[in-house]
Symmetry: C2
Subunit: 223 residues, 2 copies
Amino acid sequence: MISATLMAQIEQKLPPSCRQEAAVLSSVMAGAVSELGIPTGVSNRHVHLSQQDIEALFGAGYQLTPIKELKQPGQFAAKECVTIVGPKGSIQRVRVLGPARPQTQLEVSKADCYTLGIKAPVRESGDLTGSADALLVGAAGYCHLDSKVICAQRHIHMSTQDAARFQVENGQRVKVRAGGGCGVVFEQVVVRVSPSYALEFHIDTDEANAAGIRSGEDVYLAR
Amino acid sequence: MISATLMAQIEQKLPPSCRQEAAVLSSVMAGAVSELGIPTGVSNRHVHLSQQDIEALFGAGYQLTPIKELKQPGQFAAKECVTIVGPKGSIQRVRVLGPARPQTQLEVSKADCYTLGIKAPVRESGDLTGSADALLVGAAGYCHLDSKVICAQRHIHMSTQDAARFQVENGQRVKVRAGGGCGVVFEQVVVRVSPSYALEFHIDTDEANAAGIRSGEDVYLAR
């Protein structure tokens, strides 16, 4: 049996092209439940906007301009960006994701919270009661987000077929092992199942940095 | 047996004063090896300077001004700050830690690397060969850091007595469980033993954010 320390040493000597193979081996050694990989999607700070807020920020009747399809069907990165303003600082060039949603939701990392001077709770998407506030500034105006700012709870999108394959169900909390020999096990990862979802492990930039992983790299369910 | 999910729900309803108790319980449930807590020290970006670089940055014959003792005996935060400049961006007000060392070493997070536009490897302190470069600017001058920038490998400082108590030895890699019900298990945490060390789990801001922990909170060795 290769020890985790030896594995980490071996991994350091592998060419970058072998990174994924090393991650599988490390995860199996660390007690992964399944060798089926789940691709990671690292979410940088972003905002989903209601049509009303789109118009407040960009003008009456304004429509978002899609520039890149996201992995989740129908979702896209828009050309439009906003500035987030908090009591302590601001963050420019924050991407708007489309299409418009019934409710505006700003998703930031904890590092962003320090920059802005706000305390956004870790929440599942849509669970906004008592969440944080911020000011958004767009090309044509601004809007105040009252209880609409969260740090997104890490989660996995799965189709119904994928949920069956992994033997998990909607709402279940699972552990996920991420990274190569110097990895991290994330607890309390929420499984979100919908027929239309593409398989994807969603984490924020703090979490990706801590595990040393990037978008597209596979992670594994752990015991 | 309380499930991890139920524990997380219970924890959300606890007053902040019970946070530490909840973390102990969660860690034991997650398979912690020991209930002996290890206090966390979250390291923001900082630099250790050689006397030569102190003089290049602050003037001939300059001595650092201690303003706060750190937990590790003899170490201090200095009044002096520097600006880090990379090819893509710069970071101001970066704390200098004292006393002067034989070799300058800048420790940043991966998030900082993105800001600066550099690729600092994850390394143990002192292991600088082939590490990253940056420019440091001080009140009286600047110096170029050639292969002196790392992301510090997470580690635990322990006295000889603490190492015996935890049944680990210098250089050993251990797993550490951090956080409450929504925690993280960090793999490949290096144990560093010296008679003079104070017990402390050192991580950077990315790692602290991912686990939802702050300086002073206890973590636990895990299986």
